[in-house]
């Protein structure tokens, strides 16, 4: 029964891990890496009921899983497949299957009463009915304690909400990537960049973008109202009006109708006269 559960859960993990993410994938993945390899190894080596008590079996399963997994990874390194998602999943799966198979075979060779097996109470109402009042209270407390421990673990995983207020402001090249920014322009030629804003101010915010060449405004975009975590990207163009080297092009971001630039980015261009 226990070995079957191990195999079914392990198989269920594979599509989840391949698809990636999610709490179910996380929970199954943790069991798959931190428990199953050690559990099946212990089951294969200690098939008898009296070999180990339940707590030791659990503890050794966790500890030996940590020991087994790196060694499987090291073996994978010397195979043509290397260390990747599929090789890792398949190799751990194979280890679990083989150990579970050995455990099953060795248990089968033992008399029924000596075999290690997990006992489940098939009927909860029967089990509950057999308990007296104090034991019911204690079982209730145990459930609360388990929920509390799991709750603490969930709390640990929650990323704290940080109320940091800021705005992401950036420029990208003409292809929408951070490369090929305008450098040399012919007078009258239009240069293009993509301007991006991501609002992380924790509230709806209004922005304006001004483009200045050598301190002279040549373009303005806005007003742009963005909700918290909303992103805005737009291609903007500007044309220099004078010939000259190392002209500073400034992209100024204004927030909430303010008169002082909130952020500023800059690049330098050389402007040559037309032939």
């Amino acid at each position: 029964m226990d070995l079957l559960v191990v195999i079914v859960v392990s198989l269920a993990l594979v599509p989840l891990a391949v698809l990636g993410g999610g709490p179910v994938s996380l929970a199954l993945g943790l069991i798959f890496v931190l428990f199953f390899p050690g559990y099946t190894l212990i089951a294969a080596l200690f098939p008898k009921r009296g070999d180990l008590d339940g707590v030791q079996r659990l503890a050794l399963s966790f500890g030996l899983s940590i020991a087994v997994v790196p060694l499987i990874g090291l073996i994978l390194n010397y195979t043509p497949w290397g260390i990747g998602l599929y090789p890792v999943l398949v190799s751990v799966l194979v280890f679990i299957f083989v150990m579970a198979g050995v455990a099953w075979y060795r248990r089968r060779r033992l008399p029924q009463e000596q075999r290690f097996e997990l006992r489940f109470h098939p009927r909860l109402s029967q089990f509950w009915g057999r308990q007296n009042r104090w034991d019911r209270v204690l079982i209730g407390l145990l459930v609360v304690a388990i929920i509390g421990a799991i709750g603490m673990l969930v709390y640990v995983t929650q990323t704290p909400k940080v109320e940091e207020r800021f705005t992401e402001f950036y420029i990208l090249g003409p292809e929408g990537k951070a490369e090929n920014y305008p450098g040399v322009l012919v007078l009258g030629e239009e240069a293009k960049v993509t301007v991006g804003i991501v609002n992380r101010e924790q509230e709806v915010t209004e922005y304006n973008v001004k483009i200045l060449i050598e301190g002279q405004k040549v373009e303005e975009v806005g007003a742009i109202a963005l909700a918290h975590e909303e992103k805005w990207e737009q291609e903007v163009s500007f044309a220099p009006t004078e010939v000259g080297e190392k002209q500073k092009v400034e992209f100024q971001l204004y927030k909430g109708g303010g008169s002082k630039a909130y952020q500023a980015l800059n690049l330098w261009i050389d402007v040559v006269g037309s032939q």
């Binding site: 790196p70 290397g82 800059n266």
Partner: protein, 484 residues
């Protein structure tokens, strides 16, 4: 289920919840809770997964040199496997796993101590192991913390070895794996196992045939190290050479971290020592002797002889604290038993003893929390910096080499997937960091200096006015391609 087992299960759950909370401490209210070592290990793990092999280009400095046979490869394989199998983001695992690992350490300690009547106490005090940015600890997801699991694990296997042979391959497997995960911890555990086995072989009154597995284990312990030596001989040889002729850095001495455990726990450790000595027996001596020797090693050997790198002694505190936690657990359990024995004729005696023990545990917990509160942690990056790095990772060409504060560079690499000119952790690279800071403060005027070092990206807190640089985002400057 027996009533006593139910109560024990409830208390164990409470202890596990405490373990999870203890591991959370340095992460409270901080969304990117990684210490510099954790960032470094994450960088290596990511690179290992990207290349699919254990020999890979250095994740921080690129192809300048290859990482071949990293001493903590086992840890990277384990973490990489977790990342792949769970399909989870590294940030989620970074928050979750320290709690899970400390929970496992506490549970395995419980399983070992339970056989000798102090499982809950051992588990409780195991959660008290301290974490600092100097010698690390269970609140950080690092190889040495993972290695701590193997101490109680191997003690359980050793106990079982007294009855049959089957734990022998498991001990060898665990040690061999631990040598791959964290060699120093494997050496420390090997030492503990040797002491344990020597005491068993010399003082135990077991029949001769039962001594044979233990003798085999004693003889085979070096074989587990030999396996890793054969796999990675150049590294092991270099490590031994480093230890023999270590470069001594101007590291301030560590204040004795035991004080952070709280006076109550320390008193219980002393009591535990006393009880172990008074009770005698090879098993008790086998717990006392390695603890005392390791304590002597980390506290006095360093001061008197100063051989080997500081890191060897610093990590050593963790093994000392783990063994002390087990001894404190033993001390508390003996107090309980003595108290119950003393009041056994009085109807309310047991209740009184358990109430007193609850008070002791509560005060020791308060003191432990106080110890944590006094510890100073730092935040490597803030939220805007994280978003800057994510943006750099998404928008900039893969081949970029970045210049930035060497201490921040550790987190830059795993987030962006790009290389850095240099990454250093304090107190290393102080001069280099100052030089980089000065270069940036002056506005990064020397383009040829950047080109000579293949640097095409700067993350600078200072405004840079070099016309060859384009400020594409706040603090982010890219070097314009020649002719661009």
């Amino acid at each position: 289920m027996k009533r006593s087992s139910l109560i024990e299960a409830i208390l164990l759950c409470v202890i596990l919840a405490i373990a999870f909370y203890m591991a959370l401490w340095p992460r409270l209210g901080y969304p990117f809770p990684l210490h510099v070592d954790e960032w470094m290990h994450l960088g290596h793990t990511t690179q290992l997964l990207n290349t699919g092999q254990v020999n890979y280009p250095n994740p921080f400095h690129g192809g300048q040199w290859e990482v071949a046979g990293h001493p903590e490869t086992g840890y990277y394989l384990w973490l990489g496997n977790l990342l792949l199998s769970t399909g989870s983001h590294w940030l989620l695992l970074s928050r979750l796993m320290p709690a899970v690992v400390l929970g496992i350490i506490a549970f395995v300690a419980y399983a070992w101590g339970r056989k000798w009547g102090f499982g809950l106490e051992a588990a409780l005090f195991t959660t008290f192991i301290h974490t600092t940015i100097r010698f690390l600890g269970p609140a950080f997801l690092v190889p040495v913390t993972l290695g701590l699991v193997f101490f109680p694990l191997c003690l359980i296997l050793l106990d079982k070895l007294e009855q049959d042979w089957r734990p022998l391959p498991l001990i060898m497997l665990s040690l061999a794996s631990l040598f791959l995960i964290h060699g120093t911890t494997a050496v420390a555990l090997g030492f503990v196992l040797v002491v344990y086995l020597v005491f068993y072989l010399t003082l135990s009154k077991s029949p001769r045939q039962q001594l044979l597995p233990a003798l085999s284990c004693l003889l085979l312990i070096p074989v587990s190290a030999l396996a890793i030596y054969l796999w990675n001989r150049p590294f092991v040889t270099k490590q031994i050479a480093d230890i023999m002729s270590a470069e001594h850095l101007p590291m301030p001495p560590i204040p004795i971290p035991l004080l952070q455990l709280g006076y109550i726990m320390l008193a219980l450790v002393i009591l535990g020592f006393g009880f172990l000595l008074a009770r005698g027996g090879w098993r008790n001596y086998a717990l006392i002797i390695p603890t005392v020797i390791l304590l002597f090693f980390v506290q006095f050997y360093r001061q008197w002889f100063y051989v080997g790198p500081d890191i060897l002694y610093e990590r050593g505190w963790l093994y000392v604290m783990l063994l002390m936690a087990l001894i404190a657990g033993y001390g508390l359990s003996q107090l309980r038993q003595l108290g119950l024995e003393f009041f056994k004729r009085w109807r309310w005696g047991a209740l009184l003893i358990y109430l007193l023990l609850a008070v002791v545990v509560a005060f020791s917990l308060v003191q432990r929390m106080d110890g944590y509160a006094k510890e100073r942690y730092y935040h490597a990056i803030d939220v805007p910096t994280y978003h800057d790095f994510v943006w750099i990772g998404e928008e900039l060409p893969q081949s970029s080499v970045a210049l930035l504060n060497p201490y921040v560079a550790w987190s830059f690499v795993p987030i962006t997937g790009k290389y850095v000119y240099t990454a250093k952790a304090s107190p290393w690279g102080v001069e280099e960091a100052a030089e980089i800071r000065k270069f940036m403060a002056e506005g990064a005027p020397d383009t040829s200096w950047l080109e000579e070092r293949n640097i095409d990206l700067i993350y600078s807190p200072y405004p840079l006015q070099n016309p060859d640089l384009v400020e594409v985002r706040d603090k982010v400057y890219i070097l314009r391609e020649e002719g661009g």
